[in-house]
Symmetry: C2
Subunit: 333 residues, 2 copies
């Protein structure tokens, strides 16, 4: 797998530099380039901070800006940022109202954000929201909770908007934890992924195979099956999502569905839009009519071919947060 | 090459349907689904219409909306839309001020848009702008003018903004033709592309090869060379761009450079941002400091891996048009 890269050890740093330079009106590097932060902090607002391994771009750095994140910490490819980076982000972006940490549910991330929170506890009020949206890793499969995947951008958008409107730390924590029951994602890979320092793919799919229930770190999915047409793929992802959402939410007529089709990095817009149309038909046939939509490449696994569907069932207040103004490198309206 | 697809003959139609359904607030199908148009036309404004083969998404349909295109006509994959589609778009979106056709310089597109203009000449005032930005197809290589590639979105953005501000047909034509000297693009492919109805790639690159000077229809480029590090690739693309821009523009201190890094469909954001950072360094080392930037996947060749750089040297008035509000599926600010 060829990559636009100078050297594996400079891959992440050079990409982050490009992102900052391309969006200098919105974001700047924090001290010692340990993180990327909003150019203009909003004093008195809770600092919303996230981060994770590189390789998922534009997550998280691309979502730093007005109405979303105040800072994002990036580790090596598929590797958590260090506690030191996270502490530095808190020290530089907490303007007095405390810090909300948004963490995808992977062991390394959870451990390092926890350690950072302990290290900084004497200087900052800190709450943490762990994102758990992956339909492939429900309680029957994984005891440590669902993985955090593409639904993370819904969590970051809603919490960022609420913080921008002045919500306090405790309210943000409550909002974030409530979102975990409402958001489910399910992914499929058509081609595996190669790390920058290794030309071999982490899993290898034949020309007639696909991998269902994949994560975003090159790990294998739930099952490998024969490649199928798009309707069959979408049905499979959609059914997994419906099976893993609480029935009382699925049956609640007051909730507002949001449908996200997310490309994993190697799948082009023509296919993502096709998937959106079929996913929309699938959910509508199940009585779920999305009122908001997003289609694009937001939470990637390097250049993996494939995509995920995310369905979020939002309250009217949450939907208003989704619609609130946002200005980041990767998401703006 | 696996694709998210039901059947080759439904690939384009199902993708267009997904795009429309994902962005119903902005766009609708025109009559008989021959084109996609703005949901809310602006009476008295020149209708700005473009189109081309499918496979380049989000170009052109993703750029329909306020401040950019009024309609986009999509053909089969890598195949021009028919004159009939283009005439229908003119008939439905011309609110009295005439139609400006924006056409990438490929024989099929130029021929079909010309034929449409002749067919509709009695009912509409029509002007055509042919986009020619490809640095790989200068006069020494191609007698029919440069191909239109990623620079097309700069042309569509500036002309769309000018039309939105009330510019008349003749002024738009003049603005559009003036842009051709100011915009140059150069692309590299890391992996070829397979059509929906054929699993074989149109050109086949080995693991240590790349193709320089590629177009966006799966055609081979200018030269095939050994794969190189990102700095070498960017230098090669950047030098081709500088060599093909008029020296008097390159030396004009009053011009405002815009730098666009465009992914071809299979290249992920982490690599595109890395390329942006290196391209920025390259041009700055040549005294060209971009004041506006865009990085993403805008003009694709299905899922081809690779990217192009585009440099545009704009007047202050043109830069203001770039900054004007825009609300389309793929570009909004």
């Amino acid at each position: 797998m060829k990559k636009i890269m100078n050297a594996p050890e400079r891959f992440v740093a050079e990409s982050l530099e490009g992102l900052v330079r391309a969006h200098e009106d919105l974001v700047v590097f924090g001290g010692e380039r340990k993180f990327i932060r909003r150019r203009h902090l909003a004093p008195g607002k809770v600092a919303v901070i996230s981060g994770g391994g590189a390789g998922h771009e534009p997550l998280h750095s691309g979502f730093v800006g007005h109405g979303m994140l105040d800072a994002a910490c990036t580790g090596h490819v598929f590797t958590s940022p260090t506690p030191d980076q996270i502490v530095a982000a808190m020290d530089e972006t907490d303007t007095g109202a405390g810090c909300l940490l948004i963490v995808k549910n992977y062991d390394g991330d959870v451990m390092n954000f926890e350690m950072a929170a302990e290290m900084a506890a004497s200087r900052h009020a800190i709450e943490t929201v762990i994102v758990e949206d992956d339909a492939a890793t429900g309680p029957a499969v994984r005891s440590r909770g669902r993985r955090g995947v593409a639904g993370t951008i819904v969590v970051e958008k809603l919490l960022g908007a609420a913080a921008e409107r002045g919500a306090e730390l405790g309210a943000l924590k409550e909002l974030g934890e409530g979102l975990n029951a409402r958001i489910r994602s399910m992914g499929v890979a058509l081609r595996g992924v190669a790390m920058p320092n290794n030309p071999r793919e982490t899993f290898d799919l034949g020309p007639e195979e696909m991998e269902i229930g994949v994560g975003i770190h090159g790990e294998p999915g739930l099952t490998r099956t024969g490649f199928a047409d798009a309707d069959a793929i979408i049905r499979r992802l959609g059914e997994a999502i419906l099976a893993e959402l609480p029935p009382e939410l699925l049956g609640d007529p007051d909730l507002r569905p949001l449908l996200l089709v997310n490309g994993f990095g190697g799948t082009p817009p023509i296919e993502l839009y096709l998937a959106y149309g079929l996913a929309r038909r699938f959910f509508e046939a199940h009585g779920i009519v999305p009122v908001r939509s997003l289609t694009g490449t937001f939470v990637t696994s390097l250049d993996m071919a494939g995509l995920s569907l995310t369905l979020a069932l939002l309250t009217p207040d949450q939907l208003a947060l989704w619609g609130a103004p946002v200005a980041t490198p990767a998401l703006s309206w």
